[in-house]
């Protein structure tokens, strides 16, 4: 589904990603862990198409197409969704209005019929019931005055409605207490399926207790330094990021000894 090859990215002339290689298959959930400043958020922004990030070299293939050729909204149409670390408030715009406009833009892009108000509300009701999320959020203005937990829940509702085939969850656990984390994670798990791939980006292992990934990658200094199964996350939590970096150093230093 997603094939990243030797991706190098810089922001304001400073190189942040130093050659990322990552391959995500259909229906797989991959987690990227890493300390602050390792380039986790940069990777998610680049996938979504943020302009201020400059791709120096490498390639991103999405369903066989060059993702970098698409604008931000075209990527959404192609099926890329990003759950934001800090969802933005849009005062005065009702959540339902926003979501209906978004869904219809995406449907139009895909050559599907746009939904009218009644069809949309029916779909919205189905999705929020499935996720067991109260729908009072939907009547409010987009993320305006939402608590941290409400914002993240709102992201998941949007994901459910827009039905992307690939979702990036950018630090979805940040700012959540344990109960909110469980609610959001259960929503995400409901949306897992054989046709939807996910990239879960997190600093902490605890999110991965609830959203159990198929693969874990560790990012440091703009590179994936090690990859493994779900147990890698546990190991990392016990020994800290220092361990993996030392481990890496040992490995690279070995041949010279």
């Amino acid at each position: 589904m997603l094939e990243i090859k030797d991706l190098k990215v810089s922001v304001d002339g400073k190189q942040i990603l130093n050659g990322i290689n990552l391959s995500i298959g259909q229906g797989e959930v991959h987690a990227i862990m890493g300390p602050n400043g390792s380039g986790k958020s940069t990777l998610s922004q680049v996938l979504a198409g943020r302009e201020s990030y400059h791709i120096d070299s490498g390639s991103i293939l999405f369903l066989g197409k060059d993702l970098t050729q698409f604008s931000v909204e075209e990527r959404a149409g192609e099926g890329v969704f990003m759950a934001f670390q800090y969802p933005v408030a849009i005062p005065g715009v009702k959540n339902t209005t926003f979501l209906k406009a978004a869904l219809n833009s995406v449907r139009k892009y895909r050559g599907e019929e746009e939904l009218d108000a009644a069809q949309f509300l029916k779909l919205l009701k189905e999705k929020s019931e499935m996720l067991e999320l109260r729908d009072d959020l939907l009547k409010r203005y987009v993320n305006d005055g939402f608590s941290g937990g409400e914002k993240k829940r709102n992201e998941i509702v949007q994901m459910a409605v827009l039905d992307p085939c690939f979702a990036v969850l950018d630090e979805t656990d940040s700012g959540l207490d344990i109960d909110a984390l469980k609610t959001v994670a259960s929503g995400v798990n409901q949306l897992r399926g054989p046709k939807r791939s996910m990239l879960v980006i997190t600093h902490y292992q605890r999110l991965l207790d609830y959203i159990v990934p198929d693969f874990v990658h560790v990012l440091a200094q703009g590179k994936i330094i090690t990859s493994g199964g779900k147990d890698l996350a546990k190991e990392l939590e016990e020994k800290g990021y220092g361990w993996i970096q030392d481990h890496e150093k040992e490995q690279t230093e070995l041949p010279s000894v």
Binding site: G49, S71, A76, I90, P91, G92, A101, V142
Partner: protein, 493 residues
């Protein structure tokens, strides 16, 4: 004798030749004199004021009123305190009276209308049958609207409601005009209002009798006879005790006019327990992208809450004109009366707007609310200017003001001048103000969800204005939203 006769004939033929030559020449001042056109030559003096009054067959009191205004105006100076700049206006070069265009001068069909104008109608979703009328096409289709207007008029008169042109009111209801004209905006009020008082062409008049709730939104749109009222429009609305009226002015379709200066006056009077809701959508030609042309809109609008518990509410969406100078205000005289001002002012390209309100609290327990949303794009300048005045007599008066500015580019300006004068220490005042840029983060968020940047901007801006739009009558609000989108097309950068 024969010699003489011959000489005479020679002279005659020379004379004829001269006459013929003169007649064949085009008029060197560049306009065609048409017997049917009732245009008074350019310039302003007492005779012009008298001529206007005479053409309108006005009673003596009206003429005297105009003359008084003119005498005063001669001594006045054009205001210079506002935060706008424009070339000096030569008041002696303007025409102060022109009868409505005859069908002959109008476009014969939509094919003759500026395609750009038609494209804008299309974008605004204006129904086909209304486009012709709006573009000034001389067609019979207008008759549809006339019959609609007549039906409305019958229904209104059954309730005793008067809704007619100002000229008609002067003839049919002189006692009401005499009593209330100038009672809110005195003839000596300000340079532009005084000029209007001397030379106003026509406008609307509304009277709602005691206890009557006007069953429909009154709109100038349906009052065909007031189309082409020209640059000096005059409106007077009187709501008698316990009555209610909602009045809509203007329409979202772009309006072009060869008169550059527009100086209208609107006066509202609300008696005890009466309510007046006045909504405006102003979309006069703003000039081109380089700032050439465009209307100067210098308007005086004021309402007086004369009776106890009366209420006046102004809602305006201002997107047009090259220069706007406008402060719809309320004088809260009756105890417990309420004044409201909700405003969206959009400036793009080189437009300049200096707009706001004045809330003058005189009565006890009076309340006022001000919500102003300024949106600046291009290289435009957008100013909010407000005055909240609590007089000594205004015990327990309250005001809430909120002024928000949204900047679409880094080349435009937003300015806020909120003024407060408090002479009673029981007054309560709250003021909030914000200035924000249209956020890159907001745009990115919307685009990530699939919206184009144009749709995203429209959505964010409409959200910003929501508090004002919800005060507009439903259909008007829908139109206003579309208008905003069209006005700001391609303006993010």
């Amino acid at each position: 004798m024969s010699q003489n006769k011959e000489k005479n004939q020679q002279e005659l033929s020379r004379e004829r030749q001269e006459i013929e030559e003169t007649l064949s020449q085009s008029y060197k001042y560049g306009f065609v004199t048409d017997i049917e056109t009732e245009t008074i030559p350019a310039g302003l003096n007492e005779d012009v004021v008298r001529m206007i009054s005479a053409k309108k067959q006005e009673p003596e009191f009206m003429l005297q009123w105009r003359l008084k205004a003119f005498e005063y105006w001669k001594k006045m100076k054009e205001p210079a305190w506002q935060n706008v700049t424009y070339p000096e206006i030569d008041y002696q070069s303007l025409h102060y009276y022109a009868a409505p265009k005859s069908d002959k001068d109008r476009p014969k069909s939509l094919d003759e209308v500026d395609p750009e104008l038609l494209a804008t109608y299309e974008k605004l979703g204006i129904p086909l049958h209304e486009r012709a009328a709006l573009a000034g096409v001389a067609v019979d289709a207008v008759f549809d609207s006339v019959s609609v207007a007549t039906t409305y008029k019958e229904k209104l008169s059954e309730l005793g409601i008067v809704f007619c042109s100002f000229s008609e009111a002067v003839r049919e209801h002189p006692e009401l005009v005499k009593k209330y004209l100038g009672s809110v905006v005195p003839v000596t009020d300000n340079f532009f209002a005084t000029l209007n008082s001397a030379v106003f062409s026509d406008g609307s008049f509304v009277y709602i009798p005691k206890g009557v709730r006007c069953p429909m939104e009154l709109s100038t749109y349906f009052r065909i006879n007031a189309i082409n009222t020209g640059q000096f429009e005059r409106t007077l609305i009187i709501a008698d005790e316990g009555s209610y009226v909602s009045y809509l002015e203007g329409c979202t379709a772009p309006q072009r006019d060869e008169n550059q200066l527009h100086a209208a006056v609107v006066e509202l009077v609300a008696m005890k327990d009466a309510q007046i809701k006045y909504s405006t959508v102003q979309n006069w030609y703003p000039g081109d992208k380089e700032g050439k042309g465009g209307i100067y809109n210098f308007v005086t609008k004021r309402g007086k809450c004369l009776g106890e518990r009366s209420k006046i509410s102004w809602t305006q969406v201002e997107t047009g004109s090259a220069v706007t100078w406008k402060y719809p205000s309320c004088i809260l005289q009756g105890d417990g009366s309420i004044g409201e001002f909700y405003s969206v002012a959009v400036t793009n390209n080189y437009q300049q707007a200096d707009t706001g309100t004045k809330m003058i609290h005189l009565g006890k327990n009076t309340k006022s609310t001000i919500v102003s949303k300024g949106i600046s794009a291009g290289k435009s300048q957008n100013t909010y200017r407000g005055l909240v005045k609590m007089m000594k007599s205004a015990d327990n008066a309250r005001n809430y003001s909120q002024c928000d500015s949204l900047l679409m580019t880094d080349r435009c300006g937003a300015h806020t001048f909120p003024l407060m004068e408090i002479k009673n220490n029981t007054a309560q005042i709250e003021h909030e103000a914000t200035t924000s840029n249209i956020g890159e983060d907001q745009l990115f968020y919307c685009q990530q969800r699939g919206l184009s940047s144009e749709d995203a901007v429209a959505m964010i801006v409409n959200g910003f204005c929501e508090e004002v739009f919800k005060e507009l009558p439903m259909e008007f609000a829908v139109e206003a939203k579309k208008l905003l989108e069209v006005s700001l097309e391609g303006s993010v950068g």
